[in-house]
């Protein structure tokens, strides 16, 4: 169609698109990378939630505990100390450094799937932030709720499970949602241990085609879409939880 004047920039765009994504099936770097990113994020979130709630409950219990035996009190003090060390170290060092240490130092002499290393590193990292969010949530519940539960005869654990945690969950949902959005983006440093995640995938294309903007903008757009989708989901959840209580 030589008659129709196709603007020059469109032709360039088409060529660049072909070169970066179609030729040699380069789009696969992005799709495979996305799958790695999603897997790391998903399982790291799970670890983060479990670890975060565990640490938060230990710390809140340590602060709250009343009538108990010296043995339990002593155990709690030790656990609380361990939790504090964990929180200080994890929140006091960059996640990339933690990732590198876990890969090269802790698992240095062990053959292990790099994805598992990344899941552990990001999960352990996220757990520290979740813990502080959840602890704040537990502490913000009126003490009267706790007393009402105990006065009915619920033990400490039952009071936590049936009364405190459900209310905490609702309060911390927005902050937790943000934490997981941050986590999704933070996994982009997984390339440091040579994991081909989404970011690394784009970077591989760049190194093959010597054109930077197309693969990198594509990577950025994919992150953006995921973050926007997650934010929407979070809002939806929040609204549903709120309407259920009103």
């Amino acid at each position: 169609m030589p008659d129709i004047a196709v603007p020059q920039f469109l032709i360039e765009f088409k060529d660049a698109f072909y070169l970066n994504f179609i030729k040699d099936n380069r789009w696969k770097y992005l799709v495979d990378g996305l799958s790695v990113t999603l897997r790391i994020t998903f399982f790291a979130v799970l670890i983060g939630i479990v670890l975060g709630f565990l640490v938060a409950i230990i710390r809140a219990t340590h602060d709250k505990v009343g009538r108990t035996t010296p043995l339990i009190k002593g155990t709690l003090s030790v656990l609380n100390f361990v939790c504090n060390v964990y929180l200080t170290v994890i929140r006091g060092t960059p996640v990339v450094v933690q990732l590198l240490i876990i890969y090269f130092v802790i698992f240095g002499s062990v053959r292990i799937d790099k994805i598992i290393v990344a899941i552990l590193a990001f999960g352990i990292n996220s757990g520290a932030y979740v813990a502080e969010i959840v602890r704040g949530g537990i502490m913000s519940i009126d003490q009267g709720q706790f007393e009402a539960g105990r006065s009915l005869g619920f033990n400490y654990g039952q009071t936590m499970w049936f009364i405190i945690i459900p209310q905490t969950l609702k309060n911390v949902l927005p902050a937790l949602g943000n934490e997981f959005i941050v986590l999704l983006k933070e996994t982009s440093v997984a390339g440091y241990i040579a994991l081909a995640d989404l970011t690394k995938g784009g970077d591989i294309i760049r190194s093959q085609t010597f054109s930077a903007y197309m693969p990198l903008i594509a990577v950025a757009l994919i992150y953006l879409v995921m973050v926007i989708a997650l934010s929407r989901l979070q809002k939806l959840l929040e609204r549903r939880m709120r309407s259920r209580d009103k």
Partner: protein, 256 residues
């Protein structure tokens, strides 16, 4: 069982349901309870009055160990519940408590507020627990609010629900800490009505309150606390008409 050091024989006909001996409580260097002794028998309706900060709430909260006593003993149905080896959760099931701020569970419907504890702790079926809850709701005139959430209720309704929540556990004694103090004046009556009804049905009650007229009307005994001690215990007519101590005289002059 009676050979346990924290048990003693208990006959509900003759022994006090709750027996408090030399109860002490400190908050850091504040001596909030300085040796409180009191016997509460089945069917007693004990009103505790006294100036602000005299330790009334602390005393009441010690009775179900929400505050841990620093000295002395509390025997409930023959068991020294201040002993750490006692499973306090089991005994708390038999002591209903009503708070000034209601403390209903905001994330549960009224029905769930009422049935959660009986279902979990007394292993009742959902149907059984709900049937009992409905009966009690009818007694306080709130059967139609079973599906409401607490924030859809007025203060008076919340407090009546809170009373029912405690009653659903079939307690042997009910503890009230200023149950009407957080209410708008026009809602006080409906809550007092429920309490009056309970007293008539011979529920054992310990009530901390500033409602002197109500104390005079329903109390079997009125207790005067000041500065962490019980200064006077008497039936209401004696208590209000012939106070023995100057401390109570001047207190009554102020509040009546």
């Amino acid at each position: 069982m009676t050979n346990n050091p924290y048990m003693k024989p208990f006959n509900p006909e003759t022994d006090p349901l709750i027996s408090v001996r030399d109860l002490q409580k400190n908050f850091k260097d504040l001596h909030a309870l300085k040796g409180v002794d009191l016997d509460i028998y089945q069917g007693d309706v004990i009103f505790v009055v006294g100036p602000s900060g005299s330790g009334k709430s602390t005393f009441l909260r010690c009775l179900n160990c929400l505050e841990e006593a620093d000295g002395g003993e509390i025997f409930f149905e023959g068991v020294n519940i201040t002993n750490r080896n006692v499973d306090i959760n089991r005994h708390r099931q038999k002591m209903g408590m009503v708070f000034q701020q209601f403390n209903l569970f905001p994330h549960m419907t009224v029905m769930k507020n009422l049935t959660q504890a009986p279902i979990i702790l007394q292993h009742k079926s959902k149907e059984e627990a709900e049937a009992e809850a409905i009966k009690l709701l009818e007694r306080v005139g709130l059967a139609d609010r079973a599906d409401a959430y607490p924030n859809q209720l007025s203060g008076g309704q919340k407090q009546r629900i809170a009373i029912v929540r405690a009653l659903c556990m079939k307690p042997d004694v009910m503890l009230f800490d200023e149950p009407t103090s957080a209410l708008d004046p026009e809602m006080v009556g409906e809550v007092l009505e429920v309490m009056r009804d309970l007293a008539k049905q011979k529920m054992t009650m310990v009530v901390v309150t500033h409602e002197m007229a109500f104390a005079r009307e329903v109390a079997s005994k009125v207790v005067f606390m000041a500065e962490g001690k019980i200064l006077e215990v008497a039936p209401p007519d004696v208590f209000f008409n012939n106070p023995r101590t100057d401390r109570l005289k001047s207190f009554l002059e102020k509040v009546l």
